[in-house]
């Protein structure tokens, strides 16, 4: 068992717990970034250096930044924190929490049933990944393209601001 893995894992879990419990959304996001960084270390220890990098660049770097930007744009800081405080009462989280703990227990129990023969961690170099990606999984890459296009079109359509000028019928409706 790699020490690096254990440390990174502990950090990841701790940071994620903070994400769950944190009231301030900004803090939570930052904790999440920490968690993602720790996960990237874990990825590295599992012989996936390229993925570790991607985790940092895309997850921590792009997606999280996007969300942070969004939060800032809406200016949600303090007010939201208040809300979160008000919403996160034990009454609210205790039952779901319990169920999730049960789920966690079951999941871990099931994973621990693993009876596979122990094999070492095998490093998969980025080249091999690249070969796979543009070899057999070429179509999948194409499909990812479609996926992203769908995302873009959807986000474009939904993200546009409402024009206040509605369609004439709707307008009439609103007026009446």
């Amino acid at each position: 068992m790699d020490i690096a893995f254990i440390v990174a894992a502990l950090i990841a879990v701790a940071a994620t717990v903070r994400v769950v419990t944190c009231y301030n959304i900004m803090h939570a996001l930052l904790y999440l970034v920490v968690s993602l960084l720790a996960v990237s270390v874990v990825l590295y220890t599992y012989g996936a250096p390229f993925m570790a990098v991607l985790e940092i660049i895309i997850y921590a770097g792009a997606i999280m930044v996007l969300i942070i930007f969004f939060v800032m744009m809406l200016n949600l800081g303090l007010e939201t924190a208040e809300h979160e405080k008000a919403w996160l009462r034990p009454r609210i989280w205790i039952v779901p929490g319990l169920f999730c703990i049960v789920l966690l227990g079951e999941l871990l129990y099931l994973i621990l049933q693993n009876k596979q023969p122990a094999a070492g961690i095998q490093v998969v170099p980025p080249k091999q990944v690249g070969m796979a990606l543009f070899g057999p999984y070429l179509i999948a890459v194409e499909l990812t393209g479609i996926l992203l296009m769908a995302g873009i079109v959807g986000a474009y359509h939904l993200g546009r601001q409402h024009k206040k000028t509605l369609h004439r019928f709707l307008e009439n409706n609103l007026n009446t």
């Binding site: 479609i146 995302g151 079109v153 959807g154």
Partner: protein, 479 residues
Amino acid sequence: MSFADFISLGPLITLFTAVVISMLLIAIKRNHRITYAFSLLAYLMALTAIIPAALYIPHAVPPLLVVDEFSLFNTGLVLTSGFIILLLSYNYFEEREERKEEYYLLLPLATTGALVLVVSRHFMSLFLGLEILSISLYGLIAYLRARERSDEAGIKYLILAALSSAFLLFGMALVYAFTGHMDFPGIGAALRQAGYIPVTVLAGFGMMLIGIGFKLGVVPFHMWAPDIYEGAPLPVSAFIATISKGGMLVVLIRFYVDIHGNDYSMIWWMLAIVAVASMFAGNWLALTQQNIKRILAYSSIAHMGYILVAFLSGVQTGLEAISFYLVAYFITSIGAFGVLIVMSSSVQDAETLDDYRGMFWRYPWVATVFTAMLLSLAGIPLTAGFIGKFYIVMAGVNGHMWFLLFMLVINSVIGLYYYIRIIAMMFKAPATGEVTYIKPSLPVAGNITLMLLTLVLIGLGVYPTAMMQLIQQMMKMIV
């Protein structure tokens, strides 16, 4: 990719290419009519592309995809359904949304996702297809931005879909971790080879079931369905009810067959519980519901339960039954939503039961169509739904699943109640006094489409042989 790969994936590629072109068209000039016409054309071309693809079957595009009779059949089904939904869409969007053109990108994109599902035999393509479908649907569900409920529906669907995707992925990871394969036949072979099924793999299947169950809308992952059906634009609801569920079901069948799902009693039990719960929950929920969209949502939950019964029968007849039922269910659901669409005014959806009061006497033909659709949902003879239900029961009997069948019978009876409640409402004398009905748009294209659907519905109900032969042929190949 070889030439044969291209031809085999022709429908998919055609459709996607068309999406790209139509995006460019929109970029050049926004015109509802042109985009609409082009999309229709795209679907037609994609449908035509099935013919050359059929020459090469069965053709695998390793490791992700496989094109065989089963996938081509379902490709055809999905494309036809998409085409019909599109046909019904024009008027619906014409006056509801200023930016209507993106709809004609998102709908084919979603269809593409379903097509990927239909041909996939690998976790990766399953996942990607699912996500293409889901992400397009986020946009589609919330498409009508002026409508309050759209956003609510969209966000609900988004969070839940992502959540269930996460479950699906985690489950896949577990399966992958303990079998070393992500393609279905490989998994099946690995499990056969191992001689037993590792618990963790079972756990993985269980978690995948959550993701799949969510898309199918079975209990307990069904709760989104009514809200999304209600909030989404009607054609999109029709899409979710049919293509989205159908695509998932097809991939589930393939997966189940490839991993020899019948060998594992555990999976059987899980599905059986889900099936019974879905039947009861769906039917009970619909019982006194006043909103027809929600009724259709609940009824679709119950119908998925029925399908699962056939699924669980573990005989080839069961798979045939599902295919047939799916066809019938597609026709019926699209028909029912189609009626809702043509009955809706240019700004308001006709969705409450009261909107349909005395409809038979005001719009006899549309009411007849709706009646036929509802009767088909209820499984009454002369309709395709009857043959479908008959087929399912037959499969169940063949598999000796008496308990499940008994549940099915009970539920059919419960279900009957709310279907005929709608019918009764349509045949009631129109309300006296000052009642303002929704003024239905009754577009010509919509009416003709509905008429054709009804004809097909009754045709299949009266002469199902051809369809059955086709399905039987195709199922022989995959089992």
